[in-house]
Symmetry: C2
DNA sequence: GTCTATAAGGAGATAGAC
DNA sequence: GTCTATCTCCTTATAGAC
């Protein structure tokens, strides 16, 4: 990969503008200006505004959540379920707090009801990946008599929903200790949750 | 009020377009066409596109949630807490499912990160109204030894978050029995929640 | 209060020189 | 690969007749 990589720069700046102003509210002109080139030069890399959007999406979809959140270190903690859940939630929130992921979640929330070309962004699809991981975890816990015999789907929902709402609510404010505040709320949530399901 | 009320019709159609395409994605031209007048006629009622947006917001903010959800009939059920919570959640979801409220939630989610004029839409503010009502309810339950001694803030969060996520996730799909499906998921959530806090 | 006409500028996109 | 120049269309908004 050579420097400067204009194409990559375009998608980065485009993500900035899309996630702040929405797809319709961002213009090729702004993006080109931010990149430091003229509008017409954009069309050497993408044939349309829509294609920039699709490139951003495709880049995002190429990564899977579980590989970014779950690692062996974390899975070793499964014999201490409360600690595991706390650390799992913490890792998740920290991941959601990375700059690129924050921008993408903002874009997702903004564009979930519009159609850009043939593509529809789905919050459900986004959350479902996490629900799937949680379902596996809670299935194991129920099977091993660590957790009460609830339907794993319900447990996944109860664990996931407050996390996601807390996270999305803290996307706007840009306070310094924003993350610490979120982590504190999340810690209380996980604590309540574990208290509700432990045997 | 005389008929036809063009001004009201404009805000209604504007809400349609804003909530489907976003503020930036909707045009005066579309709105005027939907109303059945020319663009220029719009400016007899509103001095700018932004003012239409602000009128929609101001109309919305004039109403309070608690008066629409809580009534005496419901409050009489407080001695049967599980039934109360189930009916409370049901009323809430049904309210969220009214056409105008659905449009407004869509608009809120889409425009929460943009600034239209000097106004910022806040999801937190929206959810906080519900959190406040829940906090009162759960404070009472804890005080009267109906519920375990949890922090009412946590209880409000745990009760509210899944409801809101479920509701927002079902705003896109327009299935017939969509509402029944949502109500079923909500019923399970409330059941789990009550099971977790009851003494 | 709505119309026609029009202004003034921004949008996405293309052509062709370098 | 970037530039200047340009096209065409759409945007918000205004002026003035009816």
């Amino acid at each position: 990969m050579k420097y400067p990589n204009t194409k990559k720069l375009i998608t980065e700046k485009a993500l900035d503008y899309f996630s702040n102003n929405g797809y319709a509210g961002a213009s090729i002109r702004q993006i080109a200006r931010a990149v430091g080139i003229r509008e017409s030069a954009i069309y050497n890399h993408f044939k349309s505004k829509e294609e920039i959007f699709l490139a951003i999406l495709s880049d995002y979809k190429s990564k899977s959540l579980s590989t970014k959140i779950l690692n062996d270190e974390l899975l070793d903690e499964l014999d201490n379920p409360e600690k595991f859940l706390q650390d799992f939630a913490k890792r998740l929130v920290e991941f959601w707090n990375t700059p690129k992921e924050k921008k993408f979640i903002r874009l997702l929330l903004m564009e979930q009801f519009t159609k850009v070309g043939s593509v529809e962004l789905s919050v459900t699809e986004y959350v479902n990946e996490l629900r799937g991981i949680c379902r596996l975890i809670f299935s194991e816990m129920v099977k091993n008599n660590i957790a009460k015999k609830y339907d794993p789907d319900i447990l996944a929902e109860q664990f996931t929903a407050p996390l996601f709402l807390i996270r999305t609510e803290h996307l706007s404010r840009e306070g310094e200790n924003n993350l610490n505040k979120v982590l504190e709320i999340v810690r209380k949530h996980v604590s309540f949750f574990w208290n509700s399901i432990k045997i």
